[in-house]
Symmetry: C2
Subunit: 349 residues, 2 copies
C-alpha cells in the first residue's frame, strides 16, 4: 500500500486520461458453479474465459487435486487459493481505489481541519499539483493517514460502506464494486465448488477490503489478508473499541506476502493469482511446496476494455515476475486475449 500510494499518487492523481471507456459489455450468463473432475467435459466451465492455455491449466489442476486416489490429490483443508485484489480481482487504475477513497475522505473532513489550509501538501492535493506531491511522497501519505484516523474501526467501516455505495470510477463510470473481473468471479466460484478456500492476500488494507469482499467476492472477513494499519484499544464512553491511528503495522506486499499468508492461514497455498511484482514472492511461496501447485499472473494489456500497463515501469509493473514465469511454470493470463469479457454485465448481486 505504501509503495502503491506513493508512486501512484504522483503519477495519476489527476484521475485523467489513462484509458478509453469500455463499451457496455454484452450480457453474460451468471457464472455456474461447476465441479470439475478428470475426464469430465469442461466446456461449460469458466464461460468468460477463452479456450486458452491458462484456462486449460486451471481446469486440469482442479481436476487433478480433487481426484481421490490420484498422486496429485490434495485434501480439501489444504486446497488454499490466494488472490491478490488490486489489479487481480478488480481494477487499480488510475489509482488503487482505496487511495481514491482516502483522498475523498480527506476532502470530507477538511472543513474540520482549517489548519490544513496552510499545509503545502493539502494545497497540492486540492490543486492536483503533481510536481509538489511527487517531491513529497512521504508527507502526502502521512496527511492521508491522518485524515483517515482518529475514528473507531466501526465508524470507519461505515464510511467505507457509504463511499462504495455512491462513488463511481472517473473514466469507467461504474461503482467501484462493479469493476471486479467477471472471469475471476467465475474462477472463485469454480474453486469453491471444488472444495477450495479462497483467500484474498493483497496490499490494500484488510479493513478496507473486508467491507465489500464478502458481498462482491464471497470471501468472508476472516479470509482477507491485507496491510494492517495501526490500531489502539480504547474504552470510549464505557465501550471497548479499536481506534485507528496514523501509520502502518504491517505492509502486505512483496516478500511480506508469504509472511501474511503464514500468519493468517498457516498452510502453504496451492494456487496463487497475482498481477504485479508485488505478487512475485507469493507465487514463489505457493509454487515452492512439495505437492501440486499453480501460479497465475494477470497481464493488463487491454487498453480498449480496461487499461494497458502491465509491462510498463512503475509500482504496479509486471516485470521481474514476468521474467521468472517461464522458469517456474507460471501462466500469464492476457486480459486482451484470454478473457471474453472483463466486467460483469450488471451490478454484482
Amino acid at each position: 500500500m505504501r509503495r502503491l500510494i506513493g508512486v501512484a499518487t504522483c503519477a495519476c492523481l489527476a484521475l485523467s486520461a489513462c484509458a478509453h471507456h469500455e463499451p457496455p459489455p454484452a450480457p453474460v450468463a451468471p457464472p455456474v458453479a461447476h465441479a470439475v473432475s478428470a475426464g469430465e467435459p469442461v466446456a461449460a466451465a469458466l464461460p468468460s474465459w477463452q479456450d486458452s492455455a491458462a484456462r486449460a491449466a486451471i481446469l486440469k489442476f482442479i481436476a487433478e487435486v480433487t481426484q481421490t486416489g490420484s498422486a496429485q490429490y490434495v485434501p480439501p483443508e489444504a486446497r488454499i487459493a490466494v488472490f491478490d485484489n488490486d489489479g487481480t480481482l478488480w481494477s487499480e487504475q488510475p489509482l488503487p481505489f482505496q487511495v481514491i477513497f482516502m483522498i475523498d475522505r480527506l476532502k470530507a473532513v477538511a472543513p474540520q481541519h482549517p489548519e490544513w489550509r496552510r499545509n503545502p501538501i493539502y494545497r497540492a492535493l486540492m490543486a492536483h499539483d503533481m510536481a509538489t506531491l511527487a517531491k513529497n511522497e512521504k508527507a502526502t501519505l502521512q496527511l492521508l493517514e491522518v485524515a483517515n484516523s482518529g475514528m473507531t474501526t466501526e465508524e470507519y467501516d461505515e464510511t467505507i460502506r457509504d463511499w462504495l455505495a455512491s462513488a463511481k470510477h472517473p473514466q469507467l463510470n461504474r461503482p467501484y464494486t462493479e469493476l471486479v473481473y467477471q472471469p475471476q468471479l467465475e474462477l472463485l466460484q469454480i474453486l469453491r465448488a471444488n472444495g477450495f478456500t479462497v483467500w484474498i492476500v493483497s496490499g490494500g488494507t484488510t479493513e478496507f477490503m473486508r467491507v465489500f469482499a464478502d458481498k462482491v467476492y464471497g470471501v468472508a472477513p476472516e479470509n482477507v489478508v491485507g496491510t494492517e494499519e495501526k490500531l489502539k484499544f480504547e474504552m470510549r464512553d464505557g465501550k471497548a473499541v479499536l481506534v485507528r491511528e496514523p501509520g502502518l503495522d504491517f505492509w502486505n506486499d512483496g516478500a511480506n506476502k508469504p509472511l501474511g499468508i503464514f500468519r493468517a492461514i498457516g498452510r502453504r497455498p496451492i494456487l496463487a493469482f497475482g498481477n504485479s511484482d508485488g505478487d512475485r514472492e507469493m507465487l514463489e511461496y505457493t509454487t515452492g511446496g512439495a505437492g501440486p501447485s499453480l501460479g497465475l499472473l494477470l497481464n493488463h494489456d487491454d487498453a480498449a476494455r480496461e487499461f494497458a500497463y502491465g509491462r510498463q515501469p512503475g509500482s504496479m509493473s509486471l516485470d521481474k515476475a514476468w521474467d521468472e514465469a517461464p522458469r517456474r511454470g507460471w501462466y500469464i493470463v492476457s486480459m486482451k486475449q484470454d478473457w471474453k469479457t472483463v466486467f460483469p454485465a450488471s451490478a454484482v448481486r
Copy 2:
C-alpha cells in the same frame, strides 16, 4: 509471551514443587456434541461441569443466540467464540509449556554453540540459577529466541511435533497435550454443534499452538491467533521458505488481544473465555458489542487436582479482571467447584 517468559522464568524455572499430583481421574464418557435449544432438556450437556451458575449461563446463552426469531438471535457467521490457551484450555504451570519447549530446544542445540559455554545466561539456565536469570530477564529471553531461530518454519514445526510426542509434564507426569481440560473440550464441542466458530486467541505463538490445536482442540490452523515471531522470506536451495528470526513482531496479550482478534477475524466475538488479566481486554471487547455476549474467566483454585494460583500476584494472575467481572456480568468458573473432572481420562484422540 514476553511477559510470561520473563516473570515465569524467574519464578519457576526449577520446575519443582508447585502442586500435588492429581490422582488418576475417574473415566468420563466422551463428550457428546449436543445442539441446545431454548426449553430443551440440557441435563446431558457439558457432563464434566457441575450444575453451576456458569454452566447454566453458558447453556442459556447458546440456546438464546441460536433461537431463530428471538431478539437475541445471532446468525452462525457471527457466532465467534474466542478462547485463551495457556491456563484456559490447558495448564500453564510451572511454566507455559512453550517456554519449557524453548528451553529444551536450547539444550538440544547447545552442542552446536560452544560459544554459549562462556555465556553467563546459558550457564545460569543450565544451573537453574534463578537469581542470575531474575536479574537478566531480557537477556534470558534473547538467548531462548536465538536458540529457537535460524531454521525454516517447516523444520521448526517438526521439532515441536517431536517434542509434544515425547515430553512429559514434570509433576503431572502426562504428555502436555493430555493436560487439556476435559470440561473445555466439551464446551468447544457444544459450541461447534451450535454453529459457533471457535478461535484460540492466546499469548503463545501462533506457530507453536497450530502444531497441536487441530488434533487436540479441533481448531484449524487458520483459527489460531497468537504472538507473532519475526520471520523472513528466503530462497533456500531454490525453494521459497520462511526462516525464523529472533524477536517478536506482535505480542498477543492484554490490550493487544482485541487487535489480534480484529486483524484475524474481523468481527467482534460474542463469547470469550480467559483466565488472567492478560485476557481482560479481550473480554471487554467481546462483551462490549451491541448484541448478546458472554464473558468467562477460569479461576485456578484447585491445588489438589491442578494448581492454585489464580488470585496470587504475578504475570498469570486473575486480579484486575476479577475485580471487573461483577460489573460487566462475567462469570468466574472455579476449577475446584465447577468442574467434576479436570483432565481427560485418557489420551486425547
